[in-house]
Symmetry: C2
Subunit: 152 residues, 2 copies
């Protein structure tokens, strides 16, 4: 075994050492599959931790399909105009371009995997829809607790 | 809320009720993202449980990239000619066509997510490589414990 640095093209295994962490306005991210880590072409994978009271408000990905899979805690997960409280082992499939959002009005962090495909795509990664009808005020109209983002 | 059956084209959320279970020679599978469950085009997702002493021996997927992400337990995970013991929260990226295998010589089940992309692809889903050089006898030469498959 050599201790020389492994280039992303040669890396296959991703443990905590190889993970790339990032703070976003919504979550604490541990990137595991991304072209700067492994030679992925089709699948991006990030493990995200969303603290109590936080959210990733209504948005969409114009160029990628997404799966959100809950590892621990629970998420108020929206897709289109409906939501479910997803528990560990449950998921949502979000077709390309479909508006969705993840909210944590609960008392514990929610940890989820976000799986996006393809890995490389032209155009914006994400488009915010939270200020537009019919998403603006949609949760509030249902009496759901307000959630915030981190100022970054 | 209606109790009418939801068609795969209209389904987004997948809980234990919507999961499709299957017994394979290697694992007990809970399919979550597959075209008969949700309208996925890019990502297949299955949660697999491999019992102690079982394996999915060396094979490859000619048409799909794969990620294996360990949820609980541990896996002796091969990719190309090297392996790592993956623990919960760790993964391997397997480029399209690269030979790999998952072995559980440990004393507890290993639960992992297999993520494959794209969802639909022409050609065989899987090609067995375990009877060919250099894979045949590779683990045994290292003194690693034999693992079996379920007769189905």
């Amino acid at each position: 075994m050599s201790s020389a640095p492994v280039s992303p093209a040669d890396r296959r295994f991703v443990t905590v050492t190889e993970t790339v962490t990032e703070i976003s306005p919504f979550t604490l991210n541990a990137w595991m599959s991304r072209p700067d880590i492994v030679p992925c072409r089709d699948v991006l994978l990030v493990r995200a931790t969303m603290e109590p009271g936080f959210c990733h408000p209504f948005h969409h990905h114009p160029t990628r399909e997404e799966i959100i899979y809950v590892v621990s805690g629970q998420a108020e997960q929206w897709c289109g105009d409906s939501y479910r409280v997803l528990k560990p082992g449950e998921m949502v499939l979000i077709p390309k371009g479909e508006v969705h959002g993840t909210y944590n009005p609960f008392r514990e962090p929610v940890v989820f995997l976000a799986i996006l495909s393809p890995a490389e795509a032209a155009g914006p990664d994400m488009v915010d829809s939270s200020g537009e009808a019919p998403w603006l005020g949609k949760r509030e109209a249902l009496g759901l607790p307000a959630c915030v983002m981190r100022p970054v």
